[in-house]
Amino acid sequence: MTEGGSVSELSKKTRKNSLDKEKMIELLKRMLLYRRFEEKAGESYAIGKIGGFCHLHIGQEAVAAGCIAPLRKEDYVIGTYREHTQALAKGVAPEAVMAELYGKAPGTSGGLGGSMHIFGSDVGFMGGHGIVGGQLALALGIAWGIHYRGGDQVCVCFLGDAAVNQGAFHESLNMAAIWNLPVIYAVENNAYGMGTKFSRVSETEMSQKSASHGVPARIIDGQDVVSTYIDFTEIVEEVRQGAGPQFVDVQCYRFKGHSMSDPVSGTYRSKKEVEDKTENADPITTLADQMFDSALLTPEELKEMDMEAREIVRKAEAFAESAPEPDTKSLYDNVYSEINPNGRLFFDGRVI
């Protein structure tokens, strides 16, 4: 389903159409983990173990798996507030992510970040960011850092479809283009910005959005993990070799509400639409069916993989549940990384 700009023309010649069994199994296992992790997060949210806003990635697992699996550890990923599974995909431990959702001390940010701010800088996961579009400019700076040092890493920046209407999108793509920076702007285009259909807030198609900045665009079927992985592998390698910034319209579908506080369907999309997508475009069953058809997988093996994923999530949840609360004192530990020997930084008069 690849189409569009100049990069795609190149890709048609070299594009592989299938993956070996081992890679398919890896992608399947990854997606099962992400699905079970997010289901558990949803359950824990429902009983009040997780608070605040919680945006699940259910339905979009192929994006996390297919876009991040092609990366090296030293590559960077930065994302939005719908980032739990992307953190897992880049290598952040499930226990640490779940503990962060639970607001506990061993969480990725010591319980101070929460669902929208998962970080794993040791594995190049540069955070979940909560202001729509803000992370695009940060990605620009991360890519600038790579360029400045002459490295061959790439930075993948995830954004939602609604973020392309922010000024930050255009400012960032423009600068990425003029300096030929190694950044891939991957739109998780699930067709709705919260409850607003993309076509209602944009006169032009998603794939046209980067054109005025001279950034090549490509459309990817984000519900098909094999195709996402193959396409992304190619894009990443091109960028690594100096192709400059890329814009990728990763077409996908969110099976749950915008956040846990929102309805799955209703005023902005019909129950039928969601049911149709859930039944016919589930990235996990899509891959499993492909593998069944090619005799690369049996239902028993699938069940076993699923049990493994559930076990990882069970352990993560148990870890989070039993983990200690952060100390009150930890509140002040990282507001500043350097407390100057002179003068006062805090004025609240609180004594801990």
Binding site: F119, N334, N340
Partner: protein, 326 residues
């Protein structure tokens, strides 16, 4: 010790720190080929090349975010705003990204960077190009805010700010760039953040101020001296961290304080200093603390009205006399 301008002092600080540390780079509008809108970056492009002195498009949000992102991966950007009036376009990146990065990442990621440029009133530039902006940034934990008022302070504080491991908002002044003053030699001339400087010593009243207002305060102190009142002129230099100790020390001596600032009164620097004095120096005070600020209106264009809105020597003298019950 050489006598140089405030502008050249900043230029020296940038050049020395870029020479010392390869991770330091400068970006902003007109900083490279044009040598800087106020010529602060003159000659730096030629010396350090276009990877380290970077002309950006007019995209404050974008290039500030670029700075934060680069800092997140270990560089030390110096982001120049042509003026802080334009930094409002970037305030999301300053508050939501730079200031909160350390805390929301549990200390995994930080944003060591300097965000600098002129702030404060200029002459007849009207409401959008003439305003003091420090209070906007003081409000956010995670940011440090520095406001040098002399060439020496400009150099010593900028060098320290570049070496600091947190985002530092560094506010210069259009009206000070040509000011000359003695600046100590040496690449290790550093002024620590959080240390105020007593620019004039007196015993009768404490004028607590910062940035270009120190010059208004010094002129007022001269006039007060002629009337027999000796004023401490305490230049805060850095507003966060704030040298509370020096504030308290001065007021313990004078028992009277007037806060002078270029910004609006509501929620301003003086409001914070006054609060500190209420909480920690109540018994030392012989009079209510007064504030002299910009009038609570957007800056007008009309010359006479502009002058009326600004804090000035006459208003400050009057306030000092009032707290001294003269």
């Amino acid at each position: 010790m050489a006598e140089i301008t405030y502008r050249d002092a900043l230029n020296q600080a940038l050049a020395e720190e870029m020479e010392r540390d390869e991770s330091v780079f400068l970006l902003g509008e007109e900083v490279a080929e044009y040598d800087g809108a106020y010529k602060v970056s003159k000659g730096l492009l030629e010396r350090f090349g276009d990877k380290r002195v970077v002309d950006t498009p007019i995209s404050e949000l974008g290039f500030t975010g670029l700075g934060v992102g680069a800092a997140m991966v270990g560089l030390r950007p110096v982001v120049e705003f042509m003026t802080f009036n334009f930094a409002f376009l970037a305030i999301d990146q300053l508050i939501n990204s730079a200031a909160k990065m350390g805390s929301m990442s549990g200390g995994q990621v930080t944003a060591p960077m300097v965000l600098r440029g002129p702030s404060g009133a200029a002459l007849q530039l009207g409401s959008q190009h003439s305003q003091a902006c420090e209070a906007w940034y003081l409000h956010a934990p995670g940011l440090k805010v520095v406001t040098p008022g002399t060439p020496a302070d400009a150099k010593g504080l900028l060098k320290t700010a570049i070496r600091d491991n947190d985002p530092v908002v560094f506010m210069e002044s259009e009206l000070l760039y040509n000011l000359k003053g003695e600046v100590p030699d040496g690449e290790e001339f550093l002024i620590p953040l959080g240390v105020a400087d007593l620019k004039r010593e007196g015993g009768d009243v404490s004028i607590i101020t910062h940035g270009q207002m120190i010059h208004v305060a010094l002129r007022a102190a001269d006039q007060l001296a002629k009337k027999g009142l000796e004023a401490d002129v305490l230049d805060l230099r850095s507003l966060r961290p704030l040298d509370v100790e020096s504030i308290l020390e001065s007021v313990a001596k004078t028992n009277r304080a007037v806060c002078l600032e270029e910004g609006w009164s509501y929620g301003g620097v003086g409001a914070q200093v006054t609060s500190v004095l209420m909480e920690e120096a109540f018994d030392d005070l012989d009079a209510p603390v007064l504030r002299v600020t910009q009038a609570d209106v957007p800056m007008p264009y009309n010359k006479r009205l502009e002058a009326w809105t600004k804090p000035n020597v006459a208003r400050l003298v009057e306030a000092c006399e009032k707290v001294c019950y003269v």
